[in-house]
């Protein structure tokens, strides 16, 4: 069973770009233990990205030589790290979705299902990490509560895109959305917060990552990621 290219690229780009963002934390984390934790997550995601991209091409060509418009990751993962609360909110939204999606894909057949079965265990840990921190920030100090609330609200508009059908993936997206919403609601309520209000997408831009339309910070991030590789065409490293 051949791997659906669109799907492998979409999921591979999600993992690659989020890993790139998490890699920016190295040397900047709030406490040493968290340096180790964030790097673990970034490494898991990078491993997933490499496996996914390699299913449909050369991982480095795909990562380093595509233009911005050719990347099909959701916009959520490219959002800048912000403060620790923003990073945790991004992790919570994404890893909860990723765990549910990969759990469903794992029951299928073929290379993608195999990958999902392995990755879902890693992702469950990422989700747990995000949950633990959502609880601590939400129910910690007044300041942390406010920051967590702000972060959840700021990223909310990027969550709708997670449930756009991806070509080649046989998933009941509506059911996935319901389950995701249930889980997120549960966590944020336990953290003494509530689900943000407002649309999970807007008329322009938010929610078009899968179509290759990205947010402003993405181009800059890509420039940083790709410049060295592109400066030495054909070189091997």
């Amino acid at each position: 069973m051949s791997v659906p290219r669109t799907a492998a690229l979409a999921l591979g780009d999600d993992a690659l770009i989020l890993s790139q963002r998490l890699g920016e934390w190295a040397g900047h984390a709030p406490v040493l233990e968290e340096e180790v934790a964030l790097a673990n997550i970034a490494l898991d995601l990078l491993g997933q990205a490499r496996a996914l991209l390699s299913m449909v091409g050369d991982e480095d060509e795909l990562a380093y030589l595509r233009e911005e418009r050719e990347f099909t990751n959701v916009q959520l993962v490219e959002r800048p790290n912000g403060d620790f609360a923003h990073t945790i909110a991004r992790q919570l939204y994404f890893s909860t979705w990723q765990e549910l999606l990969y759990g469903r894909l794992a029951t299928g057949e073929g290379a993608l299902a195999e990958l999902a079965a392995k990755a879902v265990k890693e992702v469950a840990y990422h989700r747990d990490h995000a949950e633990q921190w959502t609880l601590r920030l939400g129910d910690g100090t007044e300041l942390s509560h406010e920051r967590m609330r702000t972060a959840l609200a700021a990223l909310w508009r990027y969550t709708g895109e997670l449930f756009q059908p991806v070509e080649g993936l046989e998933v009941d997206w509506e059911e996935l959305r319901e389950e995701w919403t249930r889980r997120i609601t549960d966590v944020v309520e336990r953290a003494g917060l509530s689900l943000p209000e407002g649309p999970q997408g807007t008329s322009w831009a938010a929610g078009a990552g899968r179509q290759g339309i990205h947010t402003e910070p993405f181009g800059r991030m890509l420039a940083e990621m790709q410049h060295l590789h592109r400066s030495h065409p054909g070189a091997s490293w």
Partner: protein, 328 residues
């Protein structure tokens, strides 16, 4: 940790304790945290372990500088894992230091306020991708040469932390060497990048072993206490002897015209080290001293609200926590 049994007085005074300590050192036994030890031994260890731990976490910065720009995904993964290890090694070492009764916060305060040092090597910048390779090969190589004997250091927790560190670091040096080899055998531009990095990192790496033996103020006593097992010059020589043939295999040269084999000594002779530069960097005038410390302080300060939040949460939920699962 609390101690249940009263200390037994078997008729000896402080001299008896000192005698027991000296005997343990002489017999190559390990000193453990709750053993009696001379104040100066304790102070020396705290200073050295703290400096070592600080070096690990400051040392993350020059390499982390390239994580987002690593030129292949394989290299990106390797580099990320390596920088992560350094955070882990910092943690092992801070924990080992804490067995002597100082807290990590105290030590971090001293680092942030400049009262404790870290290895000067990290005050040099990583200007190109090849610097990541040069750090792995030369800086980690020098560090390993220094650290392997520390696995037999007389202080138990330090020695045990070093066993773990050395085991994990074995891949650090190899990845650096492999990275440089790929560049050296790559395009002319890549080769030039590798040579440039080796030129810049060679001398600072030799300085990592510290001042020459006759000018090293802490060395003799540390050797007597078996905290240190070999002199600075001895270890430096060992490192030079290892590196010369490795550089040849890399197809790169070491920037020292006086470097040559000395048949009589059975070692390589090398040119004079610029100790003025070493002292300048140590005094805070290296290219990156301010930048490194500033980033560290900022990360710590900007993270304060996160640490406070978790502490506040733990305080509120302590009761619920008691109902958690028990060990089995």
């Amino acid at each position: 940790m609390t101690t249940l049994l009263p200390e037994t007085d078997q008729g000896g005074g402080p001299e008896a304790y000192e005698k027991a300590f000296d005997a343990a050192i002489a017999a190559d036994e390990r000193i453990e945290p709750r053993d009696w030890m001379p104040d100066a031994y304790r102070a020396t260890l705290i200073r050295q372990m703290a400096q070592h731990a600080h070096s690990e976490i400051i040392g993350m910065q020059p390499e982390a500088n390239w994580i987002t720009r690593a030129p292949s995904l394989r290299r990106k993964a390797i580099l990320m894992a390596k920088v992560q290890d350094e955070a882990g090694h910092g943690l092992y070492l801070y924990s080992a230091a804490e067995t002597l009764g100082v807290s990590r916060d105290e030590l971090l305060d001293k680092l942030h306020s400049g009262r404790q040092k870290y290895s000067s090597i990290f005050n040099y910048p990583t200007l190109t991708w090849a610097d990541v390779g040069a750090i792995g090969w030369l800086v980690d190589g020098a560090a390993i040469t220094n650290q392997v004997p520390l696995c037999r250091c007389s202080y138990g927790p330090y020695a045990r932390a070093m066993v773990r560190v050395c085991k994990e670091e074995s891949f650090h040096q190899r990845q650096g060497y492999e990275l440089l080899l790929a560049l050296s055998r790559g395009t002319p531009a890549q080769h030039a990048m590798a040579q440039d990095a080796v030129n810049r990192w060679w001398w600072p790496s030799l300085m990592m072993f510290g001042p020459p033996d006759d000018a090293s103020k802490h060395s003799a006593r540390s050797m007597a206490w078996k905290i240190k097992r070999h002199s600075n010059d001895e270890l430096r020589q060992r490192f030079v002897d290892i590196c010369v043939p490795q550089a040849e295999s890399l197809g790169l040269t070491l920037p020292d015209p006086e470097l040559r084999w000395n048949e009589e000594r059975g070692h390589y002779d090398h040119g004079p080290i610029d100790w003025d530069e070493f002292n300048e960097v140590l005094r805070g005038n290296g290219p990156c001293n301010e930048q490194r410390l500033e980033q560290r302080r900022r990360a710590h300060e900007e993270g304060a609200w996160v640490r406070e939040a978790a502490a506040a949460y733990a305080h509120k939920h302590r009761e619920q926590g008691r109902n958690g699962r028990t060990a089995a």
